[in-house]
Symmetry: C2
Subunit: 139 residues, 2 copies
């Protein structure tokens, strides 16, 4: 399996952890490191996996279900570091109802031995595509 | 000079290019690469330095003056790749008046020989700190 395929796999696994609201999967995806960084949409950076983990626990506790998909992945591998720029489309059911959103994400991964782990996740809100912007073939 | 110091220097130079609205400085900071990525606050990713450069030209043309400062830098160096998580505080004068904003940024740099170049910039809006959140000693 190529490095690019492995990085795509761990990137997919990160979004799988969000979809399953599974903190033990997050623990498998992230590097347990004090310099790990997580930026949730519209928020300041959270530093260190201990605090990042707490933020996921809070998000999962407040979420009944989440459907998040990653598309348009641009994967760059440079030695033991790789990063993915991708688009997130999100449907999330909370106590306050259903919300839909889109985000642009930067995910950095670091290789340790054979396995890649997430060391940075930065997601930021982008406008949802409106119907007018859809291809004519769909409208 | 340590790698961390060099990365801090190129990160500062990036914000210097914004402050001086100087596209030739941007050309010195960025890697002229098709996989370069730039995410302006609230926008989708722009791919490739050619298109990224056009976006800076548009921003600079619409801007009378800009004051941007980077703080809280967390710099991680891993071989020939380094990344900086930092907070941007921005005052910008446009045709529509003065605007103040804060952003969280992720900047990835790649080493080629002795010099580091920017390969990814991702900035996303964060709420400005309100007076209520300032330390008591200031209020």
């Amino acid at each position: 399996m190529s490095d690019t395929a492995r990085v795509r796999e761990i990137n997919d696994r990160f979004y799988g952890a969000m979809n399953s609201l599974d903190i033990s999967e997050m623990d498998e995806v992230w590097m347990d490191d004090a310099v790990a960084v997580c930026v949730h949409p519209g928020r300041e950076a959270i530093l260190g996996y201990e605090r990042i983990r707490e933020s996921w626990l809070m998000i999962f506790a407040a979420t009944d279900s989440m459907m998040i998909a990653s598309t348009n992945e641009l994967i760059t591998v440079a030695g033991d570091i790789a990063w993915v720029a991708c688009t997130e489309t999100i449907s999330i059911m909370t106590d306050e109802g259903l919300a839909a959103a889109a985000a642009q994400a930067t995910n950095i991964f670091r290789r340790r031995g054979e396995s890649w782990r997430m060391i940075l996740h930065h997601a930021s809100p982008v406008p949802l595509t409106t119907q007018d912007e859809w291809p004519d073939v769909i409208n």
